[in-house]
């Protein structure tokens, strides 16, 4: 494997407290090393900035729901196509790009890792098949546990250890990385066309509340010692006045502790910071939510920015997608998954002229700017829900430049200025902040900060270089230049290999898929397995033997073995 010296660049590596220092980075055997290796290839980055490769904690890039979104939207695919080249496969899709194209597009932005957040366990094989067809990135996926009958019953019975043993089995069976919870309880209620409207609204026939599910799974997560915390999409996404549920939710797992990271990752909080009781008086409650995040030490969030595009919404929150299509009358897919969850999909046009969309745009930015500690707020669009990930450079320009935001505030519906605090916020991100919310913080939240999201010794040789000279560029003024530079990495280097040069793909690789494998006490596992066997025969539509994802479905796996044998012992 080639060795590299990345010379003369200005480095932003917040995890190692390197904030805009001119220094050289050495890579050998795919990792960052202390000294230049003999014969190493030099890359001169004079007048450029250097960051760790981008890390994405929440982006719907693979799996049944994503593919249903693609199927649903030929008109979206016609809008953006990539022809085949000597090096790369062809593809199509603006809001839901095809797999090969997804990898290329992320790589062009300087990203080297992306996690897909919502995998119905029964469909896990599908998610992995797609992940295998996404080049350029390290990947992983989170099995959904929100409406899981086993989990709900164990938690209801107060049998937290069995719930943990089941969760361990589920991660192993799906080759999943972390526990995802989407609209806890609400997805099972959706089996009957209903929903859970507050944290204490019980799930029909299961006699358990969303609050109990979240609390229980947070405990399960820490009991198993998983790298990432629970990854939660709170109840009431997109509903008026939902900020109260959000603030309530942040407090639920406050009893759980972890010394290295949060115990709750609350996702795409833009969609959960809504005030008002009718769409006419819809307003931002981002300030209130940001305050709650500032106060807590157990939760961090990602933003879920709205980018004002014609996009495709997709979530395991079936009732929410139903509600959304009932407002727009657009086409709508629903895909309830037996005993597990209930994804839905519908297109959405965030028109800048619409007051709602303009306010949603403002909320995403407010969250980023009002949460004081950049380590507590990660930049996402909940791709493709708030907009496609290809808009990240634009969001970066908004975060770094008040004039950029002012220019937008002029263009979009005036409600954005009136019913959010965005117009009054002066804060502008610096490159260190950007590196935190797009890399370092994401890696830390995932529990992968040893190897990802930084440029210290031993880290993966994943590096992004952008054509920005920090000494001669004022991001606040030249926000268009910022957007342009972040749109096409000067270099994207992954595992020490140059994949992108001057915004063009120069090499195609397939990264690793991360999955976690916690082992609990053997006798507990046996007990839970016999329970699983009993219920599978009766209530699933597939035989138990055909459920777990076979090894062959994971290309280049990285199995994170976790000793959790104290559970049940």
């Amino acid at each position: 494997m080639a060795s590299l010296i990345i010379k003369n660049g200005t480095v932003y590596d917040p995890a190692n407290n390197v904030n805009g220092e001119k220094m050289d980075i050495y890579i050998k055997d795919g990792k960052i090393v202390e000294k230049a290796a003999r014969g190493a290839k030099k890359i001169d980055c004079n007048g450029k900035i250097i960051m760790p490769g981008g890390v994405e904690i929440h982006s719907h890039i693979a799996g049944g729901k994503v593919n249903s979104g693609r199927l649903l939207r030929p008109e979206d695919h016609k809008k953006l196509v990539m022809p085949k080249t000597k090096l790369t496969r062809s593809g199509s899709g603006f809001s839901t790009p095809s797999t090969f194209m997804t990898g290329y597009l992320y790589s062009k932005l300087g990203y080297t890792t992306a996690m897909t957040p919502a995998m119905p366990p029964l469909m896990a094989r599908h998610t992995h098949e797609e992940l295998n067809d996404i080049p350029m990135l390290d990947k992983g996926s989170y099995p959904l546990t929100d409406g899981n009958w086993f989990i709900m019953r164990y938690l209801k019975d107060g049998d937290i250890e069995k719930a943990a043993a089941y969760a361990a089995w589920l991660l192993r069976s799906t080759k999943g990385f972390a526990l995802k919870i989407t609209n806890p309880g609400g997805t099972e209620a959706w089996g009957w066309g209903k929903n859970c409207k507050s944290l204490d609204d019980p799930v029909p026939y299961f006699d358990i509340t969303p609050r109990e599910i979240i609390k229980g799974l947070a405990e399960v997560n820490e009991m198993l010692g998983l790298p990432h915390s629970i990854h939660l999409q709170a109840n009431n996404l997109g509903r008026l006045g939902n900020y109260e549920t959000t603030i309530d939710t942040i407090k639920v797992p406050s009893g759980t502790k972890n010394k290295d990271r949060q115990t709750l990752h609350l996702t795409h909080v833009q969609f959960h910071s809504y005030g008002g009781d009718s769409w006419k008086n819809f307003e931002s409650e981002a300030e209130t939510v940001a305050k709650a995040v500032n106060k807590t030490d157990n939760a961090i969030i990602d933003t879920g920015n709205v980018t004002l595009d014609n996009t495709t919404t997709m979530t395991a929150d079936g009732p929410m997608e139903y509600y959304l299509q009932s407002l727009t009358h657009f086409k709508w897919m629903n895909r309830d998954v037996e005993l597990e969850t209930a994804p839905g999909i519908t297109p959405f046009i965030y028109s800048p002229k619409m007051s709602t969309a303009a306010i949603q745009w403002a909320i995403g930015l407010e969250l980023g700017l009002l949460i004081k500690d950049p380590w507590k707020v990660l930049m996402t669009t909940d791709h493709p829900n708030g907009g496609p990930f290809t808009r990240y450079p634009r969001i970066i320009s908004w975060l770094m430049s008040r004039p950029a935001r002012d220019e937008m505030l002029e263009k979009v519906n005036a409600a954005a200025g009136k019913r959010s605090s965005l117009a009054s916020i002066d804060r502008e991100y610096d490159f260190n902040d950007i590196a935190t919310v797009t890399r370092a913080g994401q890696a830390r939240s995932l529990g992968l900060s040893e190897t990802k999201g930084h440029l210290g010794i031993g880290a993966h040789g994943d590096v992004a270089v952008y054509d920005i000279d920090p000494d001669n560029m004022d991001p606040s003024k030249d926000f268009k230049g910022i957007e342009k530079a972040f749109s096409a990495a000067a270099y994207t280097i992954k595992g020490g290999e140059v994949l992108v040069r001057d915004g063009e793909i120069v090499k195609v690789t397939y990264g690793n898929t991360y999955w976690t494998n916690p082992h609990v006490d053997k006798s507990l596992e046996k007990e839970v397995l016999s329970d699983i066997e009993y219920n599978f025969k009766r209530y699933y539509s597939v035989n138990l033997a055909n459920y777990p994802v076979q090894d062959k479905y994971v290309k280049n796996p990285i199995e994170l073995k976790i000793d959790a044998q104290k559970v049940g012992a």
């Binding site: 249903s68 030929p74 062809s90 629903n334 895909r335 009766r538 209530y539 539509s541």
Partner: protein, 440 residues
């Protein structure tokens, strides 16, 4: 596999049946001396498929047409010839795919992209119209055990599972006991809507006979009734207004309803608009209760081909790579249209039999062009082929991924070895691909 009886006799359990989109995964197959001796739990057609690997005179050697006669050749020569035909063609059609694995699909798509061809699946002549409808209005659906556990009202419209998906009713919909339907079929009502009293209709609680070609009007009238609007006719499609209104009330008042539909809707007058209206009815019903709808996908992996093609190109069938990027428009880029317009100049047919299942005019064009066929049996298509490379049976002699009609993916495992020297579709296609890119 567990050992049983003698050393050479094994029982493979949890085998996935590679016949229809029901994708039963509870089959048991007895194997002795690498021969299938018994098949349990499968339906009549599934059983026939497992035993068909034993067909006498099954082709094991590739054939190439020389001076009008098919002569035996080696796999290498056949692969080279196939690659040559595809490279020479300026608009090849790559068709079929429903009866092979997703692993094979991926190689097929790579070939289509490399040679700038049109790739289409049997969906085109099956649930293609359903796809067009879904793309226009969406599709509220679910996996099959949702039906098993919750459904109290099941409708089969324009489909006849007793013939085409024989275990559908017993595994997923009517007969099984479910979590919320402990008494099985006693807890459910079955309605069949069709132009004739099919064998499925005969076991229904209610059979509604619709006039041929009037499904669209009937669907519209039911929607009007569900939505509280007047119907401006006394009889629609042979069904009285009162009966339509009663049916609408029944649909609104069930707890969990589902519509399964088949070729009786996709092939009949109005085609995709029948499905469109049926999906919109399902959407309307979700304002009142929980309702889902699902196409009865025919071949065991027709769904899988759509999935792979969609994630790799963005579109589920009828994809044209001639401009270097995927382009899609059934009616233009679909197999029968390309053929009947005379726009293809060579064809690669895999895991399907268009000569048996396409209209005569399409086949006339197929017969005129260089034709490559890959499949395990001699078929009407192999009879017209210029290159025929026999392959193994996926799910019997070769493992591979398949997607059930509700898009649940399963691994269809191998239970016996294929005939000596016979490669899988996946291997053959990979070799053709390598031959095409060699030297490029």
């Amino acid at each position: 596999m567990q050992e049983s009886l003698s050393k050479r006799c094994t029982v493979a359990s949890d085998v996935v049946c590679p016949f229809c989109g029901t994708l039963c995964d509870d089959i048991e197959v007895d194997v002795k001396d690498n021969k299938i001796t018994d098949v349990r739990h499968a339906c009549r057609i599934g059983t026939a498929k497992f035993f068909s690997v034993l067909e006498e005179g099954r082709p094991t050697k590739p054939l190439i047409r020389k001076n009008g006669v098919m002569v035996e050749t080696t796999v290498d020569t056949a692969v080279k010839k196939a690659a040559e035909i595809l490279k020479k063609s300026i608009r090849p059609l790559l068709y079929g795919w429903s009866s092979t694995s997703c692993e094979a699909h991926a190689h097929g798509i790579a070939i289509a992209e490399e040679v700038g061809g049109v790739i289409d699946g049997t969906t085109s002549v099956c649930h293609g119209p359903s796809v067009l409808a879904i793309q226009d209005v969406g599709c509220p659906s679910c996996t099959l055990a949702e039906v098993k556990n919750r459904a109290d009202l099941v409708i089969y419209w324009g489909c006849n599972p007793m013939h085409a998906h024989p275990r559908h009713l017993s595994r997923y919909t009517i007969y099984p006991r479910g979590y919320f339907r402990e008494r099985g079929h006693q807890d459910r009502e079955l309605i069949v809507i069709d132009v004739r009293k099919t064998d499925t209709a005969k076991i229904a609680n209610k059979f509604i006979k619709v006039d041929y070609g009037r499904d669209y009007e009937l669907l519209g009238a039911i929607r009007a009734a569900v939505n509280g609007n007047e119907i401006n006719a006394e009889v629609v499609g042979g069904v009285t207004k009162e009966e339509i209104q009663k049916l609408a009330e029944k649909l609104k008042n069930c707890q969990f309803g589902v519509i399964f539909f088949g070729m009786g809707l996709t092939m009949t007058s109005a085609k995709h608009r029948n499905i469109d209206n049926a999906i919109c009815l399902t959407k309307d019903l979700n304002r009142h209760t929980k309702f889902s709808i699902m196409p009865m996908r025919g071949h065991y992996n027709v769904t899988g081909f759509g999935e792979v093609l969609t994630w790799q190109t963005g579109y589920p069938y009828a994809v044209d790579f001639s401009t270097g990027y995927p382009r899609y428009n059934p009616g233009e880029t679909s197999a029968n249209d390309v053929l009947q317009r005379g726009e293809a100049d060579a064809a690669l047919i895999v895991a399907s039999d268009p000569v048996a299942h396409f209209p005569r005019k399409s086949v006339e064009y197929l017969a005129k062009m260089p034709l490559i066929y890959i499949g395990p049996h001699h078929t009407p298509t192999s009879l017209l082929a210029d290159v025929f490379i026999p392959s193994t049976f996926v799910g019997i002699e070769t493992g591979g991924t398949a997607y059930r009609m509700d898009t649940v993916p399963l691994y269809a495992k191998k239970v016996v070895d294929g005939p000596k020297g016979v490669l899988s579709d996946e291997e053959i296609l990979e070799r053709i691909y390598k031959e095409i890119v060699r030297g490029k």
